[in-house]
Amino acid sequence: MSSHHEADILYRALFGHAAPAIIVQRFGPLSAQLEAGSSAADLAAYQRVLTSGADLEALEFAARLTSRLPLLTRKLAALVALAETLPENQSVYLNTRSSWPRGVAATVWAVLRSAALGLYGLALLRRGRYA
């Protein structure tokens, strides 16, 4: 799979749309560095996940909770960092308007959503035998 396609799939899992060209360009060499530091088993498991078409967010979360698929977690974290350096993404990362109710609601929603995704991800992991 090309690093362009890979960046697109991962970026979409987190941000809901295709990766900007500058992110794709920067992700390529970084992805290679991350893979160079991974074991063959980790790399194979990662590639199976990527081509599976499964819900990557759910899989990654369940894998993180169970200490599996470390390369997937590191690549998503790398994309999150690359994305933060772009001016157009600042509203994703930075809260510019104070609202305690919104903060509480966002926290509660994040917990509930994660609980559901975690269960779904664990089922996917069991079914897919990714790692």
Binding site: L14, V80, L82, G103
Partner: protein, 523 residues
């Protein structure tokens, strides 16, 4: 023949040179001397104004992805040292000072100014309790603390921590607190009596950060940029060395790696390797001050003796990192105009460890938000949402333990010229933290033991005690005046000479002691 030769160019070396300059002595300084040569233009103004209008890839990550080294290598990393502008601080360290480590993660610098280029500039006076195991008294150090306070411009306040941080005379006013730190400070005023009864005190830190313009340097501009590039209002040893060099009070030789010394009846010969060509050169001086840092001063002592058998102690402050959430600040906008490092200090008389612990409450406004991605036990998009809503409501407590809570690491020279460091695992029983966590709750700060991080020993970068000061020293120990056992002309001027290491940041004590040693050496 030089009068005084200083090996190293970190905080201790700078302080020794400063004291010698005041006595009209121009020392020769040998140093590898890497300098900041990052081609990326400096960012002016505020970090977040910059981020809103410019691509910050070069500032935060860099073309070689240095800012994401923790993801690539999965090794523990100091966030501030990962900044692309800080690359020179640790450049070639593994080549110039090769190490073999177990249960220890020493970080070395061979840059002009040493690791002080990337420090938080915590500069705390010692009190008598900090010198409990030292064969010297506070009175011997006080004049040097006074001189450093006046020269550097240290901010702080006369508050509940003055009894731990010493004489507040000559301090600049404290920095303006961030919103979160202000909330905590107000809560502390409300619960102060009860907290003091529980052995917990809170107060303003002592940092070498200017709250008012001083000595041609500007006051802090609350830009959050001190995390990402050198800012003139944050004191560094490199500033002091450059000032001495410009005034002709220092004879600085960069590109020189000191290898060993040999002592003669009336002088010492130091052999160094030129880094530009690899040839060896020799320098002679009447006195030599070792100030290469606790690890490399010990390396020099072992190399000079050709000793691959002896194992020396190495002290370090174990630390815990405790993320803290202020629920009342949830959903608050990010405090983009703030000082991005230590806001408040905490001192805890911890009965469970029968010792004083010191903590730094650090703002999280400066690092990339992405640095915390995955730290919450939540799914990816939910993590992103929480970074936005919760990080502006968080502080980090970095809790320092005195070195005595664990056996010292052991350091020895291997036949292949690497230094072998074997540390002891630090595994504190976190249930002993309950009194502290309870006190933090009364300040409106919440956490959970599962969120507490325990970096590998070496992370505090407070290395000391490899050639300790004793009243009656043995081999590889030094006398109270700094002279190494068996030597008349070689003095240990850096933290290698520490007899013990309290939980307090050691930098100012190390600098004052270096001045004392330098003054004694030339008397």
């Amino acid at each position: 023949m030089h009068d005084v030769l200083i090996i190293g160019a970190g905080a201790a070396a700078a302080a020794a040179a400063f004291e010698l300059a005041q006595r009209g002595i121009r020392p020769l300084m040998l140093d590898a001397g890497a300098v900041d040569d990052n081609p990326t233009p400096r960012v002016e103004g505020n970090l977040y104004d910059f981020r809103r209008h410019h691509d910050s890839f070069d500032l935060h990550i860099g073309a070689d992805y240095r800012g994401l080294a923790h993801l690539v290598s999965a090794e523990p990393a100091i966030a501030k040292l990962q900044a692309p502008h800080m690359a020179y601080v640790t450049r070639d360290a593994e080549v110039l000072g090769p190490l073999s480590q177990q249960n220890f993660a020493a970080i070395q610098s061979f840059a002009l100014g040493g690791l002080g280029n990337a420090w938080g500039a915590g500069l705390y006076r010692w009190i008598a309790a900090d010198l409990h195991d030292f064969p010297l008294t506070l009175t011997e150090l006080e004049p040097y603390f006074d001189k450093l306070t006046a020269e550097i411009g240290i901010n702080g306040a006369e508050d509940d921590l003055a009894e731990f941080f010493g004489n507040p005379a000559g301090l600049q006013p404290p920095l303006t607190l961030s919103h979160n730190a202000q909330q905590v400070w107000q809560a502390y005023q409300h619960h102060r009596t009860s907290l003091r009864r529980r052995g917990i005190a809170l107060g303003r830190p002592r940092t070498g950060v200017l709250s008012r313009a001083h000595d041609g340097r500007p006051a802090c501009d609350y830009s959050n940029l001190e995390f990402w590039q050198a800012q003139p209002y944050v004191f560094t040893p490199a500033q002091m060395l450059r000032k001495l060099n410009a005034a002709g009070q220092l004879n600085y030789y960069g590109d020189m790696l000191a290898l060993r010394w040999q002592e003669h009846a009336d002088h010492v010969t130091v052999t160094a390797r030129r880094l530009d060509g690899g040839r060896e050169a020799q320098f002679s001086a009447r006195r030599v001050l070792l100030a290469a840092g606790a690890i490399n001063s010990a390396r020099l002592a072992l190399q000079s003796a050709g000793d691959t058998l002896t194992r020396l102690p190495l002290l370090e402050n174990p630390i815990l990192q405790i993320p803290l959430i202020l629920p009342a600040s949830l959903g608050r906008r990010l405090d983009t105009h703030s000082f991005g490092l230590v806001q408040l200090n905490l001192v805890w008389q911890a009965a469970a460890w029968q010792t004083l612990l010191q903590g730094s409450l650090i703002e999280l406004t400066a690092p990339l938000r992405a640095e915390f991605f995955g730290r919450f036990p939540l799914a990816g998009r939910s993590n992103l949402a929480l970074l936005r809503e919760m990080l502006p409501a968080m502080l980090m407590l970095q809790l320092y333990f005195p070195a005595q809570v664990q056996p010292p690491a052991r350091l020895g020279l291997l036949a292949d010229s690497r230094l072998r460091i074997e540390g002891a695992s630090f595994a504190p029983d976190l249930s002993r933290l309950q009194p502290l966590l309870g006190a933090l709750r009364s300040l409106g700060l919440w956490t959970h033991p599962a969120l507490i991080q325990q970096p590998v020993t070496g992370h505090a970068i407070h290395y000391a005690g490899t050639l300790p000061m004793r009243s009656h020293p043995h081999a590889y120990q030094c006398r109270p005046d700094g002279r190494l056992h068996g030597s008349e002309r070689v003095f240990v001027a850096d933290s290698a000479s520490f007899s013990s290491l309290s939980a307090k940041n050691m930098s100012l004590g190390m600098m004052a002691n270096a001045m004392r040693i330098a003054a004694g050496a030339v008397q």
